[in-house]
Structures are given as structure tokens and as C-alpha cells.
């Protein structure tokens, strides 16, 4: 006898957690199916959350009432603000967390969030592809649900590699989801392969930290969550070491046994998080690479070697590790390896993260082609919201790339596709001066309120902050310092937030950091408005269809080369035309003139 729930989330990683919690917050009866309960929320790679652009995503997730920020705050061992000297638009909050505590915090949140967890393997979907009816579980049989979110991470058809060793698995010690992979392929979903990897874990007692550079925590009084979560008071030491010629030599000696270079891995790996052997091949002249030595947790006996990801055989990893200063007697607790997994091609995915060919199947995280915990969480919360909205028969939420990094990510993946695991960078956002970590709460508020994803408590916090920001803005409009309006001082970058608060009598009633944030919005206003204008111009072009054009070859207003390209590719809208290689801005102008001559509807529109 099968049960029926609202939303089923397949996978308990960083995407799955946010998806399940979001759906649950929206009142959905939500079930998470995952192989092992105790590994929910595991940091399969490095024990850190955030970074440049990534830290901003964490705060966007928090603004949608997600759990990543709180979990990271509560388990923090060291906070850092990256790019502090490079301007507030690219500040990147990053925290080292206790990996075990982090996972447990997330598990507790799921429990508190009324998400039911079923320990099982999903072996396939049930129902027609156009309208999925639930999932088939290996032990528990069919589980019916009104919407399904796939958050399979590296588990979908997962294959692990180390030297000549190859075995099936989603992560070391965990099974892979092979039957589900087969079912998706049987349903004719366009599935591709990516790979990623992880470095060896070292026993802390086996190394000598005396000779290493220590990275101390910068006390910045920062928390990821806008709700001001309780920060952990635990502190840990982190170290950096550099690889040397011997490390590179060790890797080179074993290159012929690399599964990647031997051609046994087909999937493409993350360019910006390459294995050490990749670096040796790519930069043969450089032997020095920085390695971060990160404890897996508070007083953890395990160390993570960030930057030394490898899928070379065990003996190679030993040789490489022991060339590092202080590591001559190092004992490897768990060897590094590579994992190859299936992801669903971007053509299948809609901006709501629904798979286009289905009514109620969604995807989030690595299965969409991304990499990274933060990216996964960002997609997870969006997929969860939209799975719930599907159940509620409401229109899906689409985030604009002008308002959030999550929006940039979805738009990039869907619009351009991915040919390597997608990692977020600040430079991917044209509206970067607006998409800052300090204003994610205000940026996300319309989407957060409109989607119905906020709990009452969070809603109060965020509305309170927005209201306070409004008061600060009014103060800027109404205050002058020595006869100069505060707004002008903002744009010059000369307005002291403390002075503003004291002059306008807001001191004590609003947070200083909020004042700084509002001042930044004001300071960058010119750039932000210009970017928005440009974007509007571009997107209005998506509503202009080119269907009235029989042959592009006859359009004399545009150049010959562009005519050929247009005729061959036959774009449907002006925007598509603009994105074609060989079509230049003036050709688009020519096209507009041509359309203006042909049909009056364009004139009406403009």
C-alpha cells in the first residue's frame, strides 16, 4: 500500500536539504529519500562554506530562509572576509566549519522542519515522464508524491577512480544511484557526465605543524545569517604549506597511472578546482602551489589538504604528501579519489528548475551541472520553492540575474549550458555592484515574500531590516553635512555611516552594517541603474519575434555575413539573433529598422 506525499526530495546533500526545507516551510508534506541518514549534510569536500560570490549566495539562501547560513555560523571555527581590500562589491565571507557538527546541525534542522527522512535508494521514477507520480524505492517500494526534486549530487551513476582502482559509488563508503541513472536515460533525458575529485585526509598527529604558516582567524563580528545566529565560540588553527619540486616529480612519475589521463574518465572536471596532477600537467614550469591545511573540525584528528586533490594511486599520494614540509611522517587516513557522475543537460531544464518535459519533476545541485555546496544550496532552495508552488498550482518563481547570484546561475546554466562543472564567480554577474553580500536580504525580499517561502519569524526579521533600511535612505535624502547633501557624499564615497546615524538621530535604532550597506547602494546607484537599463533593453528584445521574416538574405539593412548567419540559424527573437556569433550590434539596429518598416506592431511597442 503506497503513501502519497506532496514533495519528494531525492538526496540529502546541500541541495536536497534546502529543497526539502523550502517545500516544508511552504506547508508541503515533504519526504527526503537518502541512502544513509547520518550522512545528510556531509561536507564531502572541504570543511568550509562561502568565498567570493559563493558567500553571497549563502546569504541569498538565508534571505529565502534556508538553513546553510545558520548551520555554518553555529559550527564556525574561523571567519574570514576575502577581498577586504578590493571593494565591498567583491567581499567574500568564508567560514571554516566543523564538518561533523555542520552535518548534525543540518540534520537537526530537517527534523525541526518536519521533513520526514526515509533511508532508501531511489531506483526510478514512477508514472509517465510528462507527469511523474512519485519514486520507486528499493526497500520501501513506490512512494507517491505530487512533485519530485532530484538532488543526486555525485551519486547519479557515480563511479569512483583512484589509479587503476575503479568502483561504483557516490562517495567513498556510499552506494551510487545506478538504477535511477538508467531510468532517466530510459526516459530519454539528455544525461551527460562530469567528474570531480577530493584530496587525501591526513591524521593530524602524524604531522609537524611547527614549520607551517599559520592562518589565524580574523575577528570580524560577522555572521552569515541575517537573523544573527549564535556563532560557535570554538576556534581552530589553519595552516598553509607550499608544494615543491619533489611533489611535482612524485605526481609526474605516476601520471601514466592517472585514470583521467589514461582516458578512463570521460566526464569533464572543474577547471577552477583541478587535481594536483592536472596542475602539474598544465603548469609544468611551476612546482609551488599553495595548499591549505584545514582540520575537518574542532580538535578533529583529520586534516583536509585543500589544493591537493588527486586520483593517482595510493603510493603516489603517499609520496606527494610526504614531500610537503612537516609531512615527512604523514599518515593518510583516507586517500583522495575522483568521482564521475551523471548530470542532466541544460536543454532539459526550465528557469524554475523544472525539467521541461515534465510537469512536476525538478532538479537542483550537481545534477544540473554545478559544483560547490553554495551553488547547490542556491538551486536547492529554488527547486524546493517551485516544487511546492507546483503542488499549490501556482506559477513558478523565476529569479532575475539582475537581482541575485542564484538568478545569474540559473540563467547561465540554462541560457548558455555548461561544459564543465559550473562554479560561481563574481564576474559572472553584470550587476555585480548590486549583488553584494551586504544587501542580499533586501534584494531577495520581493521573491521571498511573493513565493511564500518565509517562516513567520524570518519574515519579521527581514521586513524589520528593510524598514530600517528605508529609514536610513530617508536620512540620506534629508541630511546634509556641512552644506553638502548626504546623497552626493554617498556617491563620492565620503559619507561616514556613523556620522549619518548620529546626525539623523538613528544611532542605536539601526545597525551600523545596515547603514553601510544602504550607503553602498546609493554610491553605486549610477552603475546599477545603467546596468538595469542595458538589461531591460536586451530583454525587451526577447519579446520581438522574427517570424515575419521570410528570408534574412533580402534584408539590405544588415551586413552580408550576418544575413548568412541569420538565415542558417533562423533565430526566433531579436534577442536570440543578438547572441549569434557574427551578428553585430549594428546588424541588430538594421534588423529593428527593417522590422519597423515591415510591421507597425514594433512601432507600437517602442
Amino acid at each position: 500500500m503506497s503513501r502519497c506525499v506532496d514533495v519528494i526530495v531525492v538526496g540529502g546533500g546541500h541541495a536536497g536539504i534546502e529543497a526539502a526545507l523550502a517545500a516544508s516551510r511552504m506547508g508541503m508534506k515533504t519526504v527526503m529519500v537518502t541512502a544513509r541518514k547520518e550522512r545528510i549534510g556531509e561536507m564531502s569536500c572541504n570543511p568550509a562554506i562561502g568565498g567570493i560570490a559563493k558567500g553571497t549566495i549563502v546569504r541569498e539562501v538565508d534571505a529565502l530562509d534556508g538553513s546553510m547560513a545558520v548551520a555554518a555560523d553555529e559550527t564556525s571555527l574561523q571567519f574570514r572576509m576575502l577581498n577586504r581590500r578590493k571593494g565591498p562589491a567583491v567581499w567574500g565571507p568564508r567560514v571554516q566549519s566543523d564538518a561533523m557538527m555542520y552535518a548534525r546541525a543540518q540534520q537537526r534542522t530537517l527534523e525541526a522542519g518536519a521533513v520526514e527522512v526515509i533511508e532508501d535508494e531511489v531506483t526510478g521514477l514512477i508514472g509517465r515522464t510528462e507527469r511523474i507520480e512519485g519514486v520507486q524505492c528499493r526497500r520501501n517500494g513506490p512512494l507517491k508524491g505530487r512533485a519530485v526534486v532530484l538532488a543526486t549530487g555525485t551519486f547519479l551513476g557515480g563511479m569512483l577512480f583512484r589509479g587503476e582502482e575503479t568502483w561504483r559509488g557516490g562517495r567513498t563508503g556510499d552506494i551510487s544511484a545506478d538504477r535511477l541513472d538508467e531510468d532517466l536515460r530510459r526516459r530519454m533525458f539528455h544525461v551527460e557526465r562530469f567528474k570531480t575529485g577530493t584530496p587525501p585526509r591526513i591524521l593530524r598527529d602524524s604531522i609537524d605543524t611547527g614549520s607551517m604558516e599559520e592562518e589565524t582567524s580574523e575577528e570580524i563580528g560577522f555572521s552569515f545569517s541575517y537573523s544573527g545566529s549564535r556563532l560557535s565560540e570554538l576556534r581552530e588553527f589553519f595552516y598553509t604549506v607550499h608544494t615543491n619540486r619533489d611533489t611535482a616529480e612524485a605526481a609526474k612519475d605516476f601520471l601514466h597511472r592517472s585514470p583521467l589521463l589514461a582516458g578512463r574518465i570521460e566526464g569533464k572536471g572543474p577547471r577552477y578546482c583541478p587535481s594536483f596532477e592536472d596542475k602539474v600537467v598544465k603548469f609544468p614550469e611551476r612546482a609551488e602551489h599553495r595548499i591549505y591545511v584545514e582540520p575537518m573540525g574542532y580538535r578533529s584528528r583529520l586534516l583536509y589538504l585543500n589544493g591537493l586533490s588527486s586520483s593517482l594511486p595510493r603510493e603516489a599520494q603517499y609520496r606527494m604528501v610526504r614531500t610537503l614540509p612537516g609531512f615527512h611522517d604523514a599518515v593518510i587516513h583516507r586517500f583522495g579519489y575522483a568521482v564521475e557522475y551523471s548530470y542532466i543537460s541544460h536543454e532539459e531544464i526550465a528557469p524554475t528548475l523544472r525539467l521541461r518535459r515534465t510537469e512536476n519533476l525538478f532538479a537542483a545541485g550537481q545534477v544540473c551541472g554545478t559544483s560547490g555546496y553554495e551553488e547547490a544550496a542556491g538551486l536547492g532552495v529554488l527547486a524546493g520553492i517551485n516544487a511546492a508552488r507546483q503542488c499549490l498550482d501556482r506559477e513558478g518563481l523565476v529569479l532575475s540575474r539582475m537581482d541575485s547570484y542564484i538568478g545569474v546561475m540559473v540563467d547561465d546554466i540554462i541560457g548558455r549550458g555548461v561544459d564543465e562543472p559550473y562554479r560561481m564567480f563574481s564576474s559572472r554577474a553584470e550587476n555585480r555592484l548590486y549583488l553584494r553580500q551586504d544587501n542580499a536580504d533586501r534584494r531577495m525580499l520581493p521573491a521571498a515574500l511573493g513565493s511564500g517561502v518565509l517562516s513567520e519569524g524570518k519574515k519579521k526579521v527581514l521586513e524589520g531590516r528593510t524598514e530600517a533600511a528605508g529609514r536610513i535612505r530617508t536620512a540620506i535624502d534629508e541630511t546634509s553635512m556641512d552644506g553638502v547633501p548626504a546623497g552626493i557624499l554617498c556617491r563620492r564615497g565620503e559619507l561616514n555611516p556613523l556620522e549619518l546615524l548620529s546626525t539623523s538621530g538613528l544611532q542605536g535604532s539601526v545597525e551600523l552594517s545596515l547603514a553601510e550597506s544602504v550607503i553602498l547602494d546609493e554610491k553605486y546607484q549610477g552603475y546599477i541603474q545603467r546596468n538595469l537599463r542595458k538589461h531591460r533593453e536586451r530583454s525587451s528584445e526577447s519579446s520581438v519575434t522574427l517570424s515575419s521574416i521570410d528570408s534574412f538574405m533580402d534584408i539590405e539593412e544588415i551586413c552580408w555575413e550576418a544575413r548568412e548567419v541569420l538565415e542558417r540559424r533562423r533565430p526566433e527573437t531579436l534577442q536570440q539573433a543578438r547572441n549569434l556569433p557574427g551578428v553585430r550590434p549594428t546588424d541588430i539596429n538594421g534588423l529593428i529598422i527593417h522590422l519597423g518598416r515591415k510591421c507597425s506592431t514594433w512601432n507600437n511597442r517602442t
Partner: protein, 421 residues
């Protein structure tokens, strides 16, 4: 004549110098030009379509005019980008005139100066930068720099460099602290050399484009020479309190907002005596100027009609604003060379002369953007630096593309060309 009314018809012109020569080349461009020439040569239809060469005889009313060689180019691969034919005939003025007449009888019209190149620009065969390079080569203004005219090399080099520096900047933002690569001090050195490159580029464009000419005009003793000296920063013109001291136009090159401008002083115009000649001379040279600064003490003397008519752009200056009551009319700008009042505004206005909205002005903007980017790096706002570099890149791509903002410069370059180019 207005290009825009008939931007598509068949045009023709002799593209070789006037006078007797062994051969002359007549260019015919526009959709249908092949069939026009085929008809003239009595060829079968379609014989000149595509990349074709045909020899034959051009006849009018049965009378043989000349034996010619005709080369046909298909649309998309000719100089203009249009369907095109070049007729090689004997270089005798009577012959070329006859053939042109035949072409015009068959529906072609005579090209206006620079029209072939203009069409090449409009159809995407040439970038703004290429047109300008070509024009300056023809003007013989290469000043020792051989401009190849083929690839806009300086322009694309600057674009490449700007892009490279922006990529370095982005890499510094994304990776420097997380991965420990690169460093900000290298970045500033890169900005230093990029600044040098942009400066060089601006100087080059101003040479290529020729400069913007501005004339100082006004009644006797209205303060033209004082203003001139103020702008020139020296005693370039002879100044005295006696009316009409300036006997003839002195001129000086100045840089205003990065744009090289030639400011010409003129003699005062009270319309009498010896000044009259100088004034008439000044009026005569006005045609080549981009604008006129009309000066009058307190704005009392209105601009003469003949200047209003000829000058494209006039700035009205109410001078000696420290001594007399200022003109309240908004059209007039109060300026005092003694107190410096209005000088900044005047420079701003001069830099907005249509002739200044040119590639040189664009190069100036690029230099400003790159400078602003460097300042932002020093101030520690890398994202703003990147926005500024992206702006510079966009301006440069416009120049290499066929963006509309470069159009004015193209028109300017074309205006210096002769028929057939």
C-alpha cells in the same frame, strides 16, 4: 545631396585620377550593377555575376566607345560589400565621360565623394577605424606612420590589452586570496602600461582625424585676444587696450578635455577701415571650422547674420564679466579672463562641439575610463575598476565594429575623400 535618400541605388564613378593615362577604372556598385554593365557590353545576362572577368566592347547607339575589361564581384565579397563591377577602359577623359554617361542612362547615378567607402562601412566590410585610417592615408596625413588600413591594428591591440588587463583584474578578484596567485602590485604595473598605450592611441587618433578648429570672433576690443591668451597660456597674440590691436589671425593648438583643438584668433569686426579686410578673411576661412566663439562685452553685440548662417555651432560669450553687467540671456555665457569666471564652462562647451564628438573624443573617453579604473584599483574598489575597463572595451569594440557612435567620425573622414573612393 543626401546619402540617406538613395543609399541603395547603383552608383558609378571614375576611380582613377582625372587626366590622360594608359587605363582608367570605373567603379559600379549596387544591386544590379552586373546586369547594367552586361547590357552595356552586350553580354549575355549573368555573365558578370559572381567573381567574373569579361573582355568586350562598349557601344552606344551602335558606335564603339572603347574596348574594356570588366571585373565582377558578387555581393558580400567586393570592396563595398555590394554587387560590384570595375570597368577598365582607356584613360582618356572623353572615353570615361562617355562610359559614365552610358551607365547613367542605364540607371546608375554618379557617386558622391567617399560613397564607395561609406557603403563599405555601412555593409560591414570596413570598421570605422579602417575608414579613418584609409582617409588619413589619402589625406597624406600619416606623419611618418604608415597606416596599413587593413586591420585597425592599433585599435585592436589596445582592445586586446584592455581585455587582458581586465582579465588579470578579474583573476585577482576571484583567485588571489583563495588560491594565492598573482598580486595587486603587478596589477598596477599593468595599468601603468595600459595608460601609456591609451595615451598613444589618443594622440594617434587626433593626428589621423585632424583637429577640431574653433574661431574666436567678435567686435573690436571684445576681449578675444585676452581669452585667446588665456587659452593658449602665453602671449601668443599681441594684446593691448587699443581697439583693433590684433591685425591678423593667430592660431594655437590647445588640448581641451583631451581633444586637440586649433583655436584661431581673428581681428575685431567693427566693419570699417583696415579691420574690414581681416574680418572678411576670417569669414572666408570659417568654412573649415567646427565652431565659432562669438564674443561681445556684456553680450551687447548680437552675432552677425553671416556668421549665424555659415558657422555650424556658435558659443556666445558675454566677456569682461568682471567689469560690466552680465548678459542675463541664457544663450550667453559670462566669462572673465581676469577672475577666470566661466572659463571651465567654456572649455566644456568647446569640447562638446560636434567636431569633438569624434574618435578623438572617444579615445579621450577611453583614456579617462582606463585612468578611472586605475584610480579605483588604488582606492581598493576592483569591481568599479572592472566596470570602467568594460566601458573602455565597449568604446573600442564600437570603433572596430560599426557602432553608431563612430558614425560622425566616419562622415568626417569621408567628407575629405574624392569621388570614386
Amino acid at each position: 545631396m543626401d546619402y540617406h535618400d538613395d543609399a541603395k541605388g547603383i552608383i558609378c564613378a571614375v576611380s582613377t585620377p582625372e587626366g590622360r593615362s594608359a587605363i582608367a577604372v570605373i567603379r559600379v556598385s549596387g544591386s544590379g550593377s552586373a546586369s547594367v554593365v552586361e547590357h552595356l557590353m552586350g553580354l549575355e545576362k549573368g555573365r558578370l555575376r559572381g567573381m567574373r572577368r569579361k573582355t568586350g566592347v562598349i557601344r552606344r547607339a551602335g558606335v564603339e566607345l572603347d574596348s574594356v575589361v570588366a571585373l565582377g564581384w558578387p555581393e558580400g565579397s567586393s570592396y563595398t560589400g555590394e554587387e560590384m563591377v570595375e570597368i577598365m577602359c582607356h584613360g582618356i577623359p572623353e572615353v570615361t565621360a562617355d562610359i559614365l554617361e552610358c551607365l547613367m542612362d542605364a540607371g546608375a547615378r554618379k557617386a558622391v565623394p567617399g560613397e564607395f567607402t561609406r557603403r563599405a562601412f555601412m555593409s560591414g566590410r570596413m570598421s570605422a577605424w579602417q575608414v579613418m585610417s584609409l582617409a588619413s592615408m589619402w589625406r597624406g596625413m600619416d606623419h611618418g606612420n604608415r597606416l596599413s588600413g587593413e586591420g585597425g591594428s592599433e585599435c585592436s591591440r589596445l582592445l586586446r590589452e584592455t581585455r587582458r588587463v581586465r582579465e588579470l583584474l578579474e583573476a585577482d578578484i576571484e583567485f588571489q586570496e583563495e588560491h594565492g596567485t598573482g598580486g595587486s602590485e603587478d596589477l598596477l604595473a599593468e595599468f601603468g602600461s595600459l595608460m601609456e598605450l591609451t595615451g598613444e592611441f589618443r594622440r594617434k587618433t587626433s593626428v589621423m582625424e585632424g583637429e577640431c578648429r574653433v574661431m574666436l570672433m567678435g567686435p573690436v576690443n571684445s576681449g578675444k585676444s585676452t581669452l585667446f591668451n588665456r587659452i593658449a597660456g602665453g602671449e601668443a597674440a599681441l594684446v593691448s587696450d587699443e581697439p583693433g590691436t590684433t591685425r591678423d589671425g593667430a592660431s594655437v593648438h590647445v588640448e581641451i578635455r583631451g581633444r586637440r583643438i586649433l583655436v584661431c584668433d581673428t581681428a575685431g569686426s567693427d566693419g570699417t577701415g583696415i579691420d574690414r579686410e581681416a574680418y572678411r578673411r576670417a569669414l572666408g576661412t570659417m568654412k573649415g571650422t567646427d565652431g565659432v566663439i562669438w564674443m561681445s562685452v556684456g553680450g551687447t553685440e548680437k552675432t552677425p547674420g553671416e556668421i549665424e548662417k555659415t558657422a555650424g555651432w556658435i558659443i556666445r560669450v558675454s566677456s569682461k564679466s568682471d567689469l560690466v553687467e552680465k548678459c542675463t540671456d541664457k544663450e550667453w555665457l559670462g566669462v572673465s579672463c581676469v577672475t577666470g569666471e566661466g572659463i571651465d564652462e567654456l572649455q566644456e562647451l568647446v569640447s562638446q562641439f560636434p567636431g569633438s564628438m569624434s574618435v578623438t573624443a572617444l579615445a579621450d573617453r577611453i583614456e579617462n575610463r582606463v585612468g578611472a579604473a586605475r584610480d579605483s584599483v588604488i582606492e581598493g574598489d576592483f569591481a568599479v575598476a572592472s566596470e570602467n575597463l568594460a566601458d573602455a572595451e565597449n568604446e573600442l569594440s564600437d570603433l572596430l565594429d560599426r557602432g553608431s557612435c563612430a558614425l560622425i567620425s566616419v562622415e568626417r573622414a569621408l567628407s575629405g575623400m574624392c569621388v570614386g573612393k
